[in-house]
Point group: D2
Chain length 337, copies 4
């Protein structure tokens, strides 16, 4: 489950997207959502912003994402608090309108590739006062002095993230924030919930399909927050944030009403929950996974519950956002009859 590199794409033909997507037999049109076309990036995910692109199910979109700090942190001498101002963080591309999408459907977002963009060092990590997993925060309010501000600028390419003289890490790109619009709420891009949002799941990279609940007409897809790599929990609050050219294929599954985002890869399916405390996020993810096993794979509810107690896999997305994210997964081989 960890940081998988997809071996081949054959499995895609049997994916939910390929078998149930309304655009599965359409010839894909490729759209380009450049910085220029995007114009203003968004810091809130909701039904109140103007669309930047209209696509049809099955289309491909090549997207220029900005890093989570919108490129403002340029050197290790920069101070995050001088440059970053809440809630204007984590800029999102979108909203992209998908033709035919209605409340009660699910949007399928296959991530085809993620390529670094711009001159090196492209990657940024930092410690932001009162933000992160091992510090008092805005919500876990303490009287302690904040941790020091630190900035790391990191060279990276499509093979390695050059963390330090001592350590280089494999390039494992993924999308941190992916969502359709909520029905009436507009939620800042730092917060995940049942619409998706800032989930920070390393599994959500090339070779993955994410299924998102559609709650408004046209789905209104938002995407951003690319990470060149990330550990479980994103403990300091920041991954290796970087700008990309990300290519996605988007399809629409009519009438598949899911309550929380779901994810499919070659060898497992995953349900995703986001809330606090962390046990509740885990509860949501496992309950949704059981519901999925019952509805689509013919399991008895109690059998699924007890069986996941033996073979369920948990990924901690992050425990640093305003809400925490957990994915609960099962290998596909245990689903077959």
């Amino acid at each position: 489950m960890y940081h998988m590199v997809p071996n081949n794409q054959d499995w895609l033909k049997t994916s939910i997207m390929a078998t149930r997507g309304v655009g599965r037999d359409r010839k894909a049109v490729t759209h380009h959502l450049t910085e220029a076309k995007q114009g203003r990036y968004h810091y809130t995910i909701g039904p109140y912003s103007d669309p930047v692109l209209y696509i049809k199910p099955g289309d491909i979109v090549v997207i220029e994402t900005r890093d989570a700090f919108e490129g403002k942190i340029k050197s290790e001498q920069d101070r995050p608090t001088d440059l970053l101002h809440m809630p204007f963080l984590n800029p999102q591309n979108g909203p992209i309108i998908v033709e035919g999408a209605e409340k009660g459907d699910a949007l399928a977002v296959y991530i085809e590739s993620m390529k670094p963009r711009g001159p090196n060092p492209r990657g940024t990590c930092c410690m932001i006062p009162e933000f992160g997993g091992l510090t008092g925060t805005y919500y876990t309010a303490t009287l302690n002095d904040p941790l020091p501000e630190k900035v790391r600028k990191i060279n990276l390419d499509e093979e390695w993230v050059h963390w330090s003289d001592r350590v280089k890490l494999p390039y494992r790109p993924h999308i941190g924030t992916l969502s359709c619009s909520p029905e009436i709420d507009s939620i800042n891009s730092l917060t995940p919930d049942n619409h998706g949002g800032n989930m920070d799941l390393p599994d959500m990279g090339p070779g993955s399909i994410t299924y998102l609940p559609v709650r408004t007409e046209g789905a209104r897809l938002f995407i951003g927050d690319a990470h060149a790599c990330q550990g479980d929990g994103e403990v300091c609050g920041v991954a290796v944030e970087y700008p990309t050219v990300t290519t996605i294929k988007v399809d629409l599954i009519k009438g598949w009403t899911i309550e929380w985002p779901r994810l499919e890869r070659e060898d497992f399916i995953m349900a995703i929950g986001s809330t606090r405390p962390l046990e509740d996020a885990t509860r949501i993810a496992y309950r949704e996974l059981i519901r999925w096993m019952v509805q689509d794979h013919g399991f008895d509810k109690w059998d699924a519950y007890m069986m996941l107690s033996q073979c369920g896999m948990v990924r901690l997305g992050n425990f640093v956002d305003p809400k925490y994210t957990v994915g609960a997964a099962i290998r596909k081989k245990y689903l077959s009859r």
Copy 2:
């Protein structure tokens, strides 16, 4: 601290509102926000809806609030799940634009009176599946069968809430949901956070002044969710919900930048925090109270911290909403020099 009936209004002259509000010397104009004038009620609190009223600091507004179920539950034979559809719950009056309000200010909302409205039984309590403090919920996701649906219709007047043959409870009206708009988010009216929202604090009734952070031009005040009485924690998830005529006086304190809502009554001041888990809501409330004592009352930070350990008062608003609310308070007599 519990369910106080205000003795007299003399203290108001020395309140923060009366001493720092820009409208303190203005002759108040009284506005009427009737059902007709309100038109469509709102289920989300944010910057994207059209104003229904424009007022000046110091003005009075007489508001016709609807109950949290918008009057849909009419008899004890009704089933909540037939009538209530998320997220279309907890209808709010507003937004009311307050002249001169800008980001960084605080809005003061004095509740002058709350009178029941419409024919008896006016009060509604119910048990809604997967909602409440002692049941698995949407976020505390369990596989248990939900609790049964139950509806109670309750006669009430300005003296008593006639709960049952056995028990009558004192009428202790208060506003459950009160907010200015967030800066860019639009938050459903069931969720409290740093903008206010669904706090469910019994202290927020006639005789109280709530101070709300202003984050958009004009403040955009929302109000609703009147309770004829409520216990600490609102344990079943529902108070005695009822429609009212609520009279408030609104003033504006320029440049008083507060991060979370605050409340003042005759004999105490209170800071309010809302998040999960509940200890974090408590942390927020106490940290804000300490900051208040330091900034406005000349306390040393550590002295305030240790002293509140001896005389702080905690009110649990609710632990049933998507976020939980706690008020931390200190008696005014301990603040004087």
Copy 3:
């Protein structure tokens, strides 16, 4: 509910203790558990220590309690970390064996009086690194520098706690830690759980009766941790800790099997829950209160649940111990038929 001073003792005659205690008609014998008789104080509450006293139901015990730091903090120049060593904190008197007590019974502990002991300043408050509500702790592990160490020595008498030049607080004594032994566990005296333990409820002072589950033969009563006053939540982690002469009357209620501690005062009954997170402590307390209302007062379960949503009272004991404590209460007047 806050810091009540008992008006008169007439209600005691109708208390559960007086009506169901097996010692209710016995002539009480008074025992003295002096420091000398106690000998070694205990830091863990369990079945493995040697009894210091044998009493009969209905007897009175006059106890010399030590403060939570065992008197080691003598001046404001002392440093807690030099003097305090985990887990040797919060010394307990006991175990006291109560004749006839068996698993499945409840012990009743009426606190008759609490008098300060020793020379002034008797009271101690302090800030201990990585301990308290508004700091990273041993369990809420952060990387922040700890808060500074601070010691306050406080003069106090049976009327006032002289906190500072600016503030004096009413003397509101109560017992912080009260327990019978668990069945097989031995639990350090800093941790509350279903046996009682370090609950830190201001209600547990003179005029209160606490009912504790008996889980071993003889009940094995432990008591200690007197506070001259304490705010809700004990936010800095320490109350005004002081040595006392505390007089209690102990009775035994055969066959009253309670799962968590309960408390009775003149005008309310309270169920007590201790765990983390804080919402779970609140859930326990409210569920136990509902069970109590159903079993002993003839309420329908759902009626009790919905009614407590209108009139339940919540006391936050502390949110600083290894487990947090909440009391959920209802006024007796709402229990009568």
Copy 4:
């Protein structure tokens, strides 16, 4: 990281145990802790029980463990509530006294092998009312009816766990409960904490070394609760519980004072935290891992913090016990200089 099968044992020669254990050059003596020699199994882990075995550092112990239900659940027609009685669950072998172990040392427990014991079906899984991750529980107290009781008896061998006609799972044995004694507490064997206890980490199987803090003379090692396999989080509350012959090698590292248990395998090191809520368990685990990287591997604290945000691995042991367990790990290859 998931369910690894150790490839070879060469790495053991460079393990902390092999390089720092005082028994590393001793010729191991092999001891047999049979059911008969154990006699009474223990349900509480503490300093108050009589030793069953005395060993020297470097010795090997072959242990007959009982399943978590002590073999009481024999068929799928059995009802757990008829047979299981709290707190008499999860029987432990021990205490084993290790010569020379003193407070401040660490005990190393290498698990060499785990073999199933007794006639098939050896494995037991069940649903116990008010126990598990997706149900109201003793601590997450709800009013919902409990889930149904269910028992599964499962054939298993050293290759497969035959879960159902549809699914067979790889045999991935591990020890659920492993501890040295706390200093003065005696903790029931269902609860993990800083002594170890009921951690339920699938990583703690053959090929792993667990390092436990020693807090009493002789260390007093307890072991039990074997699982033939387990998913992350042990979501229904029960793994495939079974009796084993487990062979361990025990060594002693003098003066290595660790606050929480740690684990080493061929390719990673892991720090383990146990508490509630789950984010606090994660905080503990990550903080301990950072401390380990700083103290033993020369990392700068902030570099370690930010780097784990990119490559840390989190294992959810369980979120069903009275306290939840998380392991935070880093691959050894990132530790080398």
